[in-house]
């Protein structure tokens, strides 16, 4: 066997490390070109140096976090509602063919309405930032959950279903003991897709001018001149972190809830 260089953590860390280093380098280089070499008209607003952004981010961390938390908490509520609705819809659709035929066209149509159009409509109707954020987050969440859960509910094999049939299990029992557990990994796939999307959805609503949230920070710092650019990018960074955080919350929840599926996936490679 070939001996590999360095301890295991080092080998694992090297790829992301190179990635981050290259990213920083390219950013700083681009900022240098824009601010130092080109004519200086508002150049700093286009692309400030990354280290300047970092300083701004750190020194404004708590105010950014406060705004971020407002966004995250609203999108969480929407995410929860959307996930519940999507899940129930999937169960209903798998339970009865009629229900599936009835709901399917609406499901498809719902995906044809762009959220950028829907958000102002909803906001204008309800006239409440919190409610709109929750509604739009829920709206964007329900579809990936419904679609993934539905395919999960249909994922169990013929043998498994025959087994339940041979032991004369009733339909609710088949759901409880077979269909729902085997749909869980698919449900989590849907949740992982939807979690960052629900944060984005809340931010989209905030860009319309709600009273709080990270989207509002992004919106206003756009107009604040040289210093605004640094805050703008810091807010963007916070927004990105919110999306990543929401993803990892689901990621870890999955490991806690369905360790058997995570282990099987690892085994399969």
């Amino acid at each position: 066997m070939k001996k590999k260089a360095g301890p295991a953590w080092w080998r694992k860390a090297i790829v992301p490390a190179v990635w981050v280093a290259a990213f920083v380098l390219i950013w700083e280089l681009a900022a240098f070109v824009l601010t130092q070499l080109l004519p200086p008209t508002l150049a700093i607003q286009k692309l400030p140096f990354l280290h300047n952004i970092a300083v701004t981010f750190v020194s404004n961390f708590f105010s950014l976090l406060e705004s971020g938390w407002v966004t995250l908490s609203k999108s969480f509520v929407g995410f929860g509602i959307g996930a519940a609705v999507g899940f129930l819809l999937a169960v209903l659709m798998s339970w009865s063919k009629v229900m599936e035929k009835l709901a399917f066209p609406y499901l498809i149509i719902s995906q044809m309405i762009p959220i950028l159009g829907l958000a102002p409509i909803v906001y204008n109707i309800v006239r409440d930032g919190d409610v709109s954020r929750i509604l739009i987050s829920a709206y964007i969440t329900f579809f990936p959950i419904a679609a993934n859960t539905l395919s999960g509910l249909k994922s169990s094999g013929q043998d498994e279903r025959d087994l339940m049939f041979a032991y004369a299990a009733k339909k609710p029992t088949v759901y409880r003991k077979l269909l729902l557990p085997s749909a869980l990994p698919h449900l989590f796939t849907g949740l992982k897709i939807a979690a960052p999307m629900s944060v984005t959805a809340a931010i989209v609503v905030e860009l319309l001018g709600t009273s709080s949230g990270i989207g509002v920070k992004i919106l206003y710092t756009l107009y604040y001149g040289a210093n605004g650019a640094l805050m703008f990018w810091s807010s963007i960074l916070m927004a990105a972190l919110l999306g990543i955080t929401s993803y990892y919350i689901v990621f870890w929840a999955e490991r806690l809830c369905i360790p058997w599926a995570v282990a099987a996936r690892k085994k399969a490679g």
Binding site: G157, D162, L163, F165, A166, A169, K177, P181, A263
Partner: protein, 258 residues
């Protein structure tokens, strides 16, 4: 009453394919199986073994003919949960431990927690997996998984055990070991077993009678009594009597396929 536990009378099964053509999977199959008998259904792939077993399990309905199990229809027997079934794949639920997999039919039957535990312990002992009770299926070898499948089928204490090529995905060593284990379990529990296989020596080693099926259309072409003494031991596979039975069965195929 003829005293037979299972009566299969002139069963036919025709599958209508999507293209409109028809497959005759079983033609004029008649067979009686006695209480406590170990019977093999032997034949090449596609001869209707699975179809016949699935008809017994009420997973399929015959196109014509009649099947009774203790004078009841397969459906009644299924609803009374009087048979256990083992498939070629272990069909274990990944999210359940070995113990919980064995308990599955007991949970479906709404047995008390106490009874589930007692039965599961007994089954774990029967198949020799006491130490693996809390393992997940993915952590077990193929042979162990199939033992769990057998334990689950026996957990409901059925009169009848239906097995569809349960060992055909296993290697030769594991298969022979499980053959012996199965006979020991059968001796201790006194079930009627219908065992589907395409392996001649496996069918001889296990069975009281071997039913030879031939394909296109699936027909019962011979029934061969296996008069080897019981309990069967692994070294019997080397005896001339064993070889003679294997040869006899093989000839019944060749006569048929010619």
């Amino acid at each position: 009453m003829s005293g037979a536990m299972i009566e299969i009378k002139d069963v036919n099964k025709v599958f209508k394919n999507t293209s409109g053509s028809e497959t005759v999977a079983l033609e004029h199959v008649s067979l009686d199986v006695g209480e406590g008998e170990f019977l093999s259904l032997l034949g090449p792939s596609g001869c209707g073994k699975t179809t016949l077993l699935r008809i017994l399990a009420d997973l399929l309905a015959p196109t014509s003919g009649r099947v009774t199990i203790k004078d009841k229809t397969p459906k009644d027997v299924r609803l009374l949960r009087e048979f256990g079934i083992v498939f070629q794949n272990p069909v274990l639920f990944d999210w359940r431990t070995v113990r919980k997999n064995i308990c599955l039919p007991l949970e479906i039957m709404k047995k008390s927690k106490q009874e589930q535990k007692v039965r599961a312990d007994k089954m774990l002992e029967l198949v020799g997996l006491e130490e693996y009770a809390d393992y997940y299926p993915a952590q077990l070898s193929g042979g162990m998984q199939q033992r769990v499948g057998i334990a689950r089928a026996l957990a409901i204490q059925p009169q009848l055990l239906l097995m569809d090529e349960p060992f055909s995905a296993l290697d030769e060593f594991t298969r022979e070991k499980l053959n012996e284990d199965l006979l020991r379990i059968w001796r201790n529990t006194n079930k009627t077993v219908i065992f589907v296989t395409h392996n001649i020596s496996e069918s001889v080693f296990l069975s009281d009678r071997v039913c030879v099926l031939s394909p296109h259309p699936g027909r019962l072409s011979a029934i061969i009594d296996v008069d080897l003494p019981r309990p069967r031991r692994a070294d019997m596979r080397g005896t001339p009597e064993f070889a003679a039975l294997v040869a006899k069965i093989r000839n019944s195929f060749e006569g048929d396929l010619a």
